[in-house]
Symmetry: C2
Subunit: 407 residues, 2 copies
């Protein structure tokens, strides 16, 4: 239909494309399809009974407050709880260093709004989180991809990228989305050292840090950064992002930023014009459910469930994938990265896969330069071990049939 | 503290200033201060018991779904309910014409993201909603103010502004924030006709439309626009915004956009990169509470409470304001606009007022050009009639003392 809006304006979306992930979510609605697409937590682990009790307590004890406007920074008690949580990992911050956001996606958007000018360059892992590419495409950013291996960002590529002076570097050091790869301690230390040397600040996105199924916890980049400037408890060259989406529930849209107070102030000003504040009710319910140690116990439970699913998908991949297919072995998180023989196209494969009632995300969606045609991201948190086994068997058969015959 | 973020970057906030409204909200925390600042609904009218029941039902019947990721467009049943609500006012739309947003503030931000380039000009009422100025300042927009009188936007100023080709025109026709003025039917029809003639599309912001305390409901701009193109049920030159903030609760952050499907599609893409989607839990609880006719009954209750408060503030102003002070007589909404003698400064007056334990928002915050020094916005929804009487008595005394002595 012709309207002034459509007729006169190009409805510019600044290279924003409809997210492959969001489109693929629609496929998961077919009940007989086993989906490794999306990044959905398992609904079985949602603490529904605890949410019911928390909502009841909030509405009984502080009903009017929970339904009223509140401050842009976020509810004081929730921010204080996050301060205590953060300090357990060796970062001493104050509530003025915390901003509550409507999911980490909003943190990425606000960072774009405050820091980015058209044409600014951002150093990213290649591949990287699709939502970050989307958020910063909206501000006409350019991306400088840094290749990854089993230890994370390849530091031999890092130097030339940092030397070229990007606005900032964006990294997901723990169980990266999409690859599942964890940056080694050595690489983390080298990254902090080099970023400091070249004067490039860092955005550290850590949605899965608590979901480790084996190995030891590694210090986050902001902890290493703080240690490197001994004496200063929080030097603030690293803006740190985390979320309740993977530990409580993603449907809340509740996350936080840890940053220098001056940066938080600017993000708050940007958030005022963006959505005034995050739902007071959601913040108070999340605080009510998380306080008193419940969240720690709950994370243990999630680890057990997801750890078993990771074991199931690794075993199934070994059993069903034809020779020539490789995959990562994540120590935590939600994703495994699969690399097909070079001449294959995961996007083409997806069409056949859907006919065979199995789905995944073609990996090219996560590349700033559109490469990675022969890669795919598999989520293992949403399906039961039995469904994982059946789904990987279906996927293995689809790949086997699509393999180029040896001539 | 010096960090790379603060040392290297100017932390540009693109002319975004800390909102006077938000800063002033902090003043309302003094319990003996009577605040006419802010735009807070009365907590007494929040349907807390109904929220408790709705949250309980949602978590019992659809707990996992309410805590999971959901689509960017918004929950289907909530959008269908809004379609039914919209059609009652003569606009026939489909769910594809509806986007759920995290408050109307987010709708303003997404419109900026999709439509605005740096330097674009937007026609606005002078004064206008501060949050719109903030949202679009972030995209480096310029504003073309159109003076208002008791019938709304002055159509003698409108023509030259429309002729100069602004990107769009932004209007709040019902009980405008900040002035409380309602655009007359004749002006509405003329605006639609002229905007069509000059090819300027319109953003209609209608947060208070249902809160009318006297007089007849006037058709919204999008209804008049649709009628003007007879045969087409929804021509779509007007993007219409409304919200649950003033009828259910502002702490939810829940609102909606009505627009052509092509525009909704672009807003959805922008929202994907901005916050993925609005809280599933909040959407489902709001649907659960609003369905089955509760919201209609509840709005009747709010009208009775706020109508009495409007009567109380009008009576108190008449009683306590010195000669030379004028004010609007709103037929609905939350605000009254007060005009002091020309040589007075409302900002200076605020300092004294706070000492006397009464607060308001200086009107200049709502002017795109910083004028309106002798104006102030008074909110009447948040205080009881008794507190209103006492607060206006205090304010009247402050103004009386500050009046220039006749020489």
């Amino acid at each position: 239909m012709e309207t002034l809006w459509t007729q006169r304006y190009a409805l510019r979306t600044r290279r924003m494309q409809s997210s492959a992930v969001r489109e693929l979510l629609k496929l998961t609605e077919k009940p007989d399809l086993i989906s490794f697409a999306g990044g959905l937590p398992a609904p079985e682990v949602f603490p529904i009974a605890e949410f019911r009790e928390a909502a009841e307590r909030v509405l009984t004890q502080s009903g009017a407050q929970s339904l009223q406007y509140s401050t842009t920074e976020g509810c004081a008690r929730l921010r204080e709880m996050i301060v205590r949580h953060t300090s357990r990992y060796g970062i001493v911050v104050q509530p003025e260093n915390i901003l509550i956001t409507s999911g980490s996606q909003q943190a990425l958007d606000l960072i774009g709004k405050v820091f980015l000018n058209s044409g600014d360059r951002i150093a990213v892992e290649r591949p990287t989180y699709l939502g970050a590419l989307q958020a910063w495409n909206a501000y006409q950013a350019q991306f400088l991809g840094i290749a990854m291996d089993d230890e994370g960002m390849r530091t031999d590529e890092l130097e030339s990228v940092l030397r070229s002076g990007p606005k900032f570097l964006y990294a997901l050091p723990n169980f990266q989305n999409p690859t599942g790869v964890t940056m080694s301690l050595k690489r983390r230390e080298l990254l902090i050292e080099m970023a400091d040397h070249f004067g490039v600040p860092i955005i550290e996105d850590d949605p899965y840090g608590q979901l480790r199924y084996e190995g030891d916890h590694l210090p986050s980049l902001n902890v290493i950064d703080a240690r490197a400037r001994d004496g200063k408890p929080f030097s603030g060259n690293v803006i740190y992002l985390s979320t309740f989406s993977k530990t409580l529930a993603p449907g809340l849209r509740l996350a936080w930023v840890v940053a220098p107070a001056e940066v938080i102030l600017k993000l708050v000003q940007a958030k005022q014009g963006t959505d005034l504040h995050t739902s007071t009710f959601v913040q108070m319910v999340a605080y009510e459910i998380a306080r008193g140690g419940f969240l720690d116990k709950h994370v243990q439970h999630i680890r057990a469930v997801y750890g078993a699913r990771r074991d199931a998908i690794l075993a199934a991949l070994k059993r069903h994938m034809p020779p020539g297919v490789r995959w990562t072995k994540p120590q935590g998180g939600l994703f495994i990265w699969t690399i097909l023989p070079e001449q294959m196209s995961a996007t083409e494969l997806l069409r056949t896969a859907i006919d065979e009632r199995v789905a995944f995300v073609p990996g090219s969606a996560f590349y700033d330069d559109g490469s990675g045609q022969n890669t795919m991201r598999l989520n293992f948190s949403n399906a039961t071990p039995e469904r994982i086994e059946e789904g990987i068997a279906r996927l293995g058969a689809v790949i086997r049939r699509a393999l180029p015959s040896k001539s």
